[in-house]
């Protein structure tokens, strides 16, 4: 079957994307369109006494200007968080109140204070600038490492010491005992740099209130429109669910940042009701840098103990996680259950303890970003492994092999039970493909050209397929993380798959269609995938955490099972055969060993004409299924990065990057490779280029691409990729998920390679040329003088 599972089917969505025919939220035009702009807090912390909008209201085209206190008066609810974390002393987490628009205090540069609605976008923006703000600037806490200091400015009055929670996982006493008896102890302090998500399409919302129907429609850049509708209805009191339709049309990338329901969407819906106009807001790039939820931002101290043979005896981490001024939707779970539970990595660790203190600062909210917690855990573990190997004089690959988990399922010391894997095979393959054996010769050759060559590893495991509903519920999640699907066979045999997953770059239109093409032997062009509209798809939990494969596709598989069963009943009845004798091949249902058969479209027709169905069978051929996973899935991989550093300038060139992954079953290798390319490139971005930087007062210094360095094509090499699949036994396809792996595994491989090249392990991300050069000077004082 050329379009089935495992085929490199070209993307059905590419024609419209490549020819500029995609339809994004900002492309939506309505009849009574008005445009919104926001007045934002100009400083990191301020008491807002009020605004003077007289001049702005008098400007041409201005329709209305509204503020937070008015919204509060109208009963619009405060922003919520979706996951309650309990501190180690048993107390509930403590977070500051987040009003969609400021009621009293502005708490970061960009905090929304007022909405301006005008006839054109230019008029709205000009009027927003003309709104006068009466405010008193207050002291701000800006940096992660400062938030818990005595005397640090309080971000919220009700969060003493800026501490949201002080959470722990694992067994501290056991870890301490292990470290006390260790033959060798490795210690390292690391910063996991704060990142801006930078999807190609900035956030946008079109809110339409229909007064006659008392009904709202919201077009928005969302990774999970049903969750958006649920939250907007249940918590923000915008409208009940049946009177609110949320549509996420083509969405140009998310990387996590479009999971969350932001103040702007809520405010546009409310403003549409207030003004009787359709209200559109589209973020500009600097607004995106200021207000999209950032990622990462951990400061971690790690300690790892080894026995004389190099086996890990204990691992302990102490992390401060910056949550920003407000607690975004999944901000609390990212540094805890998506980070602490991965601290065992792919190693058999007998004792683990992780402590995470989450803090408020006067910066934009920080939430899940591609990988979400797992890159932070992987970076910590993999830098520790490399560091320990160097300190103990061991080969870093051998140290890993010595500690790899060998048997599955494997129960870690930190909640998770890994499903399957073969970590040795991945590392063996990666070493071969990276030609590790030839490294010393390449290093010598580079040295002859005055270049410093280094090699670095990262072997990782991550948890995907979020997530078993009951399990996450017991850990504090407010929602279940199943997925739903509906498969509709039309009377002519064409197939529509309705899914609660959302594609914003993941190629679902192609890969989901492959499942039906594979099952029924129909051409992929006869299969349409429908998603992203709460009026079309009954419900869905959306796309993040590499869940669309293991969870979303599993729901589709269950619905396909039901359709197949009914189709076989119809065929058996029509062909007067036993269902057990039927086989589906090349778009036909055949009675094995005979020439009796029905074409797929004949079955569709029979189901809908309903002249001759088995007794008691309802007409139609359409089935719905929900899939709730029994566990996470656990993709793993071995990455090897080889770099060449120019000691004169500190410029690092990645000369080779090898990634061998285990994603379980692969539906479309081309799409999976694309995901790895993108993920690894983002990881290289984090490792070498990207970083959100604030000044001491909390102003964002990296508010445009002039200062925030995104990876470009010439910053990354041509990747060497391979796979070794151990299918997950926990879902129908054996699929594990591939969307985040590249971003999770790659940063430590890059840093390990650079520190190997320069001979200085004291290096934080992003390893920019200036930092690499400075690190070189630190270990070569003689060179620095010259």
């Amino acid at each position: 079957m050329s379009d089935g599972i495992g085929a490199r089917v070209k993307r059905k969505e590419d024609k419209r994307f490549i020819t500029g025919k995609g339809k994004y939220t900002d492309d939506i035009r309505t009849e009574n369109q008005a445009y919104a702009a926001f007045v934002r807090c100009p400083v990191a912390h301020a008491k807002i006494n009020g605004i003077n909008a007289d001049a702005a209201l008098a400007m041409e085209g201005v329709i209305a200007i509204h503020t937070g206190p008015e919204m509060k008066e109208d009963g619009i609810g405060d922003m919520i968080t979706g996951w309650a974390i309990t501190s180690k002393d048993g107390s509930p987490m403590n977070c500051g109140v987040w009003n969609p628009m400021v009621t009293t205090y502005g708490r970061y540069v960009g905090d929304a204070i007022a909405i301006v609605v005008a006839e054109t976008q230019a008029q709205a923006r000009a009027a927003a600038e003309a709104v006068e703000l009466d405010y008193e600037e207050l002291p701000a806490t800006v940096f992660t490492g400062d938030a818990l200091n005595d005397g640090a400015a309080q971000v919220h009055e009700n969060v003493p010491g800026n501490m949201i929670y002080d959470w722990e996982i694992g067994d501290e006493a056991k870890a301490n005992a292990g470290l006390a008896n260790a033959h060798h102890v490795t210690e390292l302090e690391m910063v996991n740099n704060r990142l801006s998500p930078n999807p190609m399409e900035p956030r946008s919302a079109v809110a339409i209130y229909d007064e006659a129907e008392d009904h709202y429609t919201l077009y928005t850049t969302s990774q999970n429109p049903h969750v958006a509708r649920l939250v907007l209805s249940a918590f923000y009191n915008v409208a009940p669910e049946h009177k609110l339709r949320v549509i996420a049309p083509d969405v140009g990338g998310g990387f996590g940042s479009k999971i969350y329901i932001y103040p702007e969407e809520i405010t546009c819906l409310w403003a549409s009701m207030k003004t009787g106009r359709s209200v559109k807001w589209t973020s500009d790039r600097t607004e995106a840098f200021l207000t999209d939820a950032h990622g990462r931002d951990h400061v971690t101290k790690a300690t790892m103990g080894f026995d004389a043979d190099g086996r890990i005896v204990a691992f302990k981490t102490d992390t401060i996680a910056n949550i920003g001024a407000y607690v975004s939707l999944f901000a609390t779970v990212t540094p805890t259950y998506l980070h602490g539970t991965l601290l065992s990595g792919c190693y058999d660790m007998p004792a683990i303890y992780g402590n995470v203190k989450a803090v408020h600062t006067n910066t934009a909210p920080v939430d899940a970003y591609r990988g979400a917690g797992r890159p932070e855990a992987t970076y910590t573990i993999e830098r520790m492994m490399e560091t320990a190997a160097r300190e103990m004089g061991m080969d870093p690959a051998e140290l890993r092999r010595k500690n790899f988990i060998n048997e599955f399922p494997y129960q870690t010391e930190v909640i998770l039970q890994y499903d399957s894997g073969d970590y040795h095979k991945l590392l063996d393959m990666a070493q071969k493909e990276a030609d590790v054996a030839g490294f010393e010769a390449r290093k010598a050759e580079a040295a002859s050209r005055g270049k410093l060559r280094g090699i670095g590893y990262s072997t990782f495991v991550e948890a995907c397929g979020l997530a078993p509903s009951a399990a996450v519920g017991s850990l504090g999640s407010a929602v279940g993380l199943w997925e739903s699907a509906e498969v509709r066979v039309n009377p002519v045999g064409t197939i529509e798959i309705l899914t609660g997953s959302h594609s914003h770059g993941q190629s679902h239109q192609t890969t989901f269609a492959q499942l039906a093409a594979d099952r029924f032997g129909v051409p992929i062009d006869n299969v349409q995938v429908i998603h992203g509209d709460t009026d079309k798809v009954q419900f869905g939990m959306g796309t993040y955490g590499s869940r669309s494969g293991p969870v979303g596709m599993s729901a589709i598989m269950k619905a396909l099972d039901k359709v197949e069963a009914k189709a076989k009943k119809i065929a058996a009845h029509t062909l007067e055969a036993s269902e057990d004798d039927l086989v589906i091949e090349n778009g036909e249902v055949k009675v094995a060993g005979t020439d009796k058969k029905m074409a797929w479209h004949e079955i569709g027709l029979a189901a809908y004409i309903a002249h001759n169905l088995p007794e008691g069978m309802e007409p139609g051929l359409k089935e719905t299924a929900f899939f709730d996973p029994v566990n996470f899935s656990f993709p793993s991989g071995a990455l090897i990065c080889e770099v060449e550093v120019d000691p004169d300038t500190g410029v690092t060139e990645i000369v080779k990057f090898t990634a061998v992954d285990d994603f379980g079953t692969i539906i479309n290798p081309m799409v999976v490779e694309g995901q790895v390319h993108g993920g690894v490139t983002q990881g290289i971005g984090q490792a070498m280029l990207e970083g959100v930087v604030h000044d001491e007062s909390g102003q964002l210094l990296t508010a445009s691409y002039m200062d925030y360095a995104m990876p470009r094509a010439d910053d990354v090499p041509s990747y060497t990729l391979d796979h070794n699949s151990t299918p997950s036994p926990l879902n129908p396809l054996g699929i594990k998920g591939c969307g985040e792996a590249g971003a999770i595994g790659s940063p430590p491989a890059v840093i390990n390679a650079i520190t190997d090249a320069i001979g200085n392990n004291d290096l934080d991300m992003p390893a920019t040329p200036s930092k690499v050069w400075a690190a070189l000077q630190a270990v070569k004082p003689a060179m620095a003088a010259e």
Binding site: A122, R125, T649, G650, L689, T702, D707, T768, P769, A774
Partner: protein, 265 residues
């Protein structure tokens, strides 16, 4: 972008008169800095005077001793010009390395020089080659033209019409791009002519493009990379920001100077 009045004069005189008649007029050439700045509401000129339709503003003239390049000549045109490539290849290469293709096909030499962005490439060539800036009023030597970041000797109603570059026996530019913007973090233009060497540095200096006397002296004695070994770049005179401190930029200036010397051959 705020509303603005757009003029497209067909002579330098008309352009000057449109500029002097405006409340807050600005010359528009390629618009690669001005228009983004206006879109971000960081500039709001009352009038834009587009000089690209003025005859003689585009092209390269070779009088045997110098190349005169019209102010509205784009970077792409300079990079591809056969005369520039034959007579001052270092200048053609510099132009071919500015920004990206879209910028190079719109941005102009006059616009870049008039704006005097501290990280722009052209000011290093103008100063390094000892060029002359020709305006609607006068001729200004490069040494007198650049007066610090975004500041030049140009008067409000004065328009650059061309730049005259004397030929050099050796000339080359090496730049270290900022990882984010790809503007120069340190760009060094070296030129040797009649035994005398000029070294101009862009991107790194705290006060915009500047000449480095120590390097000029060292290279005048011996035009070689090693001649630069014992020269000093004062870190205190360098920009220091999130992309690199003064010490790093000082190092880059020296490294780029050596690479420019190597390229110049």
């Amino acid at each position: 972008m705020y509303d603005t009045n757009y003029h497209k004069p067909s002579s330098v005189a008309d352009a000057v008169s449109a500029l002097s008649g405006a409340e807050d007029g600005k010359v528009l050439a390629g618009g690669q800095t001005l228009l983004p700045t206006m879109k971000q509401h960081l500039a709001a000129p009352s009038d834009l005077v587009d000089i690209r339709a003025i005859p003689g503003m585009v092209g390269v003239d070779d009088d045997g001793d110098a190349l005169t390049i019209g102010a509205a000549t784009t970077h792409a045109e300079v990079a591809a010009d056969p005369t520039v490539n034959a007579k001052l290849p270092g200048l053609a290469k510099l132009a071919g390395g500015i920004g990206d293709p879209a910028v190079r096909h719109m941005g102009t030499i006059g616009g870049s020089v008039a704006n005097n962005d501290p990280a722009a490439d052209y000011p290093a060539a103008v100063l390094g080659l000892g060029a002359t800036v020709i305006t609607s009023k006068r001729e200004i030597a490069a040494d007198d033209f650049f007066e610090g970041m975004f500041t030049t000797a140009l008067e409000d109603d004065e328009i650059i019409t061309a730049i005259r570059f004397p030929l050099a026996s050796k000339a080359a530019y090496a730049k270290f791009p900022n990882p984010a913007s790809r503007y120069a973090m340190a760009g060094v233009f070296v030129a040797e002519s009649g035994g005398s060497v000029r070294v101009a540095v862009t991107g790194a200096g705290a006060d915009g493009v500047f000449r480095h006397e120590g390097m000029e002296n060292a290279l005048s004695g011996q035009f070689s990379e090693s001649a630069l070994d014992y020269t000093d770049v004062d870190a205190g005179d360098m920009l220091s920001d999130l992309h690199g401190d003064g010490a790093y930029r000082a190092n880059l200036v020296k490294v780029m100077a050596k690479r420019a010397v190597a390229k110049a051959g």
